[in-house]
Amino acid sequence: MTLLTTPKDIAETAARDAVERQLTSGKADTAGFAFRLLLLLALAMSVVVLGVLVVDVTTNSWGVVTNRGWDFVTSKLASQPGQAGVVQGLVGTFWIGAFVIAIAFPMGVAAAIYLEEYAQRGRFTNLIDLSIRNLAGVPSVVYGILGLTIFVKLLQPLTGPDANGRTLVSAGLTLAILVLPIVIITSTEALRAVPSGLREAGFGVGATRWEVVRHHVLPYAAPGILTGTILALARALGEAAPLILVGATTGYLSRGDDFLDLTALRERFAAMPTLIANWASQPGAEWESNTSAAILVLLVVVLLANTAAILLRNRFESKRR
């Protein structure tokens, strides 16, 4: 709904209304108005829910934010709520995000390109398509069990024998697999939205399939693909259930507070969502505000990741024009 301010706006609206009245022969558009109100209500509801969440989390964590500030972000897990911080959770979540970006994105986009641009459509591809769609709806705990069986137990020598496989590598791979179907589906949709005329024109001037995909289809689909990957990344950063099964540590961790310590990838780890879940079950008001502060930190991280991806998408979009 636009707010009417300038006389020009008012004149425009008046003119539009007059034309509309003539076309609808003066009948009042009650159904249309009700529908519009309904849409507005739906929008208002989602905004209010989000607003309440942010306000609630911010007020609850205000004590921690003002008293501890950066110290909360750089402190390690601890028994005393006044000393506990989230740095190990951030390191874990950072690397999980890195695994998702490095594994799920290229694999997912590649699979989607193959399915849409190269594969012969037929019963078999339809079956694959259907399974991928079903996989996207599988509850995340199930992926946790998958991660436990494959990465924690079976591939333990690779994922970290000293920590019984309960490592960042296992967690990162599990979440990468978790979001893979989402990446494939959204990328597929983005590729399908590319007008077929674009491809045909390419082939018409003698371009190979690779050239068509590389120079025409992909750039056109890039913003859509990126939107999907944004959703996938946000989902991966916020998942707690699979991490509980893979074995994220929530009580205490001696190390794991160095973002660039690569040996820590094969050691026990913490992650933001499980840390939040654990703190929420601790007794006392101090843990409660710590929980809210941790939620705030996770929100900021997800927001930053999304902003980066949206900026990237906008770049692609402006290029497309």
Binding site: A78, A98, G172, G247, T249, S254, P283
Partner: protein, 341 residues
């Protein structure tokens, strides 16, 4: 022009991906030689602790203090629950299992099957607190028989306090229950607090009465102590139970005194430690005996736990052991005495 910028973006993206993969597969030669600090020990290795969420805060506090002197020992601590912890412990995944109730026969069997021998070390106490809403003025003290009559297996279907009157009278209680709705909230079956409750209260009565060793099934259960407290706050004449340390932090609830036969006793540090409060429970750590021999970091950690470390029991809200009990625990550890005591 347009083409080149697009190409650089591609190159950048590829570079980022490659560097990430390289980073992930990077060499693992560790941080050998990083320990140049003369003050601290050069003990290395790891001590994995899991088990009861009740004991977890104690182990975390001990691990913190231990790490201050031994920075290169990795001590991850977790609290999935006593039972889940024993599964990991008996599979040889963890070196220490925190427990808020004694090891069960089937857990001993599971450990034996995998050849895991353990040393049972009693490190402190926790009281169970029976609570009602602070608006409930009629109740201030309950006997064990009352608790059995209200929450035991025979109380299924009681939705008013007075429903339990006959059963309580039969068991020899002299309490008069109010005519008020009965809303019960407590821990779920997976919780150590649940099994302690069954062992301490229910098992006093159930065998004589031919009932199962469990609670009534029809109560609001949660694994999260905060949710239980909220449930108790939610109704004026509610009833529920959680661990002592948790109840102390709770607001809007009234902790009931408990009569174990010698009069009503309020749960306090003193009454739990000296055993006069009838529904208290012991807290243990179980140490993998074979690992204790092989892993000097584990031995050092347990040494520290039983000396400086046990002070944390009181600091995090539980009840420390009496001196002679602590001595007995230390003796078990020094002698590496395995098996349930």
């Amino acid at each position: 022009m347009k083409h080149t910028t697009r190409r650089t973006t591609w190159l950048l993206a590829m570079l980022a991906a490659v560097s990430l993969i390289a980073a992930a597969c990077g060499d693992d030669d560790g941080d050998a030689g990083a320990n140049g600090n003369g003050q601290t020990s050069d003990l290395t290795g790891s001590v994995v602790v899991s088990g009861s969420s009740t004991v977890e805060p104690i182990s975390v506090a001990v691990a913190e203090k231990f790490n201050a002197d031994n920075p290169d020992v990795d001590v991850p601590v977790d609290g999935p629950g006593t039972g889940d912890g024993f599964e990991l412990f008996c599979a040889g995944e963890t070196a220490i299992n925190d427990a808020s109730s004694k090891v069960k026969d089937e857990q001993i069997a599971a450990c034996e099957e995998n050849g895991v021998e353990f040393i049972e070390l009693w490190i402190g106490n926790d009281g169970l607190s029976i609570m009602t809403n602070e608006a409930n003025e009629e109740m201030s003290c309950v006997s064990l028989a009352d608790i059995y009559a209200l929450i035991g297996p025979e109380s299924q279907g009681f939705d008013n306090w007075s429903d339990a009157q006959d059963l309580a009278d039969e068991l020899g209680s002299e309490t008069t229950f109010p005519d008020a709705p009965l809303a019960i909230t407590g821990p779920g079956e997976e919780s150590g607090t649940f099994s302690s409750f069954v062992e301490i209260v229910i098992e006093e009565f159930n065998e004589d009465r031919g009932a199962d060793a469990t609670t009534r099934p029809d109560y609001q259960s949660s694994g999260d102590d905060n949710v239980i407290i909220q449930g108790i706050q939610g109704s004026d004449t509610s009833l529920g139970w959680v661990g002592f340390a948790f109840a102390r932090e709770a607001e809007g609830v009234k902790i009931l005194e408990v009569d174990g036969g010698d009069g009503c006793v309020e749960p306090t540090d003193e009454t739990v430690a000296d055993g006069s409060y009838p529904i208290a429970r012991p807290l243990f750590i179980y140490v993998n005996a074979a690992m204790a021999d092989e892993n000097p970091a584990l031995a050092a950690f347990v040494d520290f736990y039983l000396n400086g470390g046990v002070e944390s029991v009181g600091e995090v809200g539980y009840v420390p052991l009496a001196d002679e009990d602590l001595e007995a625990t230390r003796a078990l550890w020094e002698g590496r005495t395995t098996g349930a005591q």
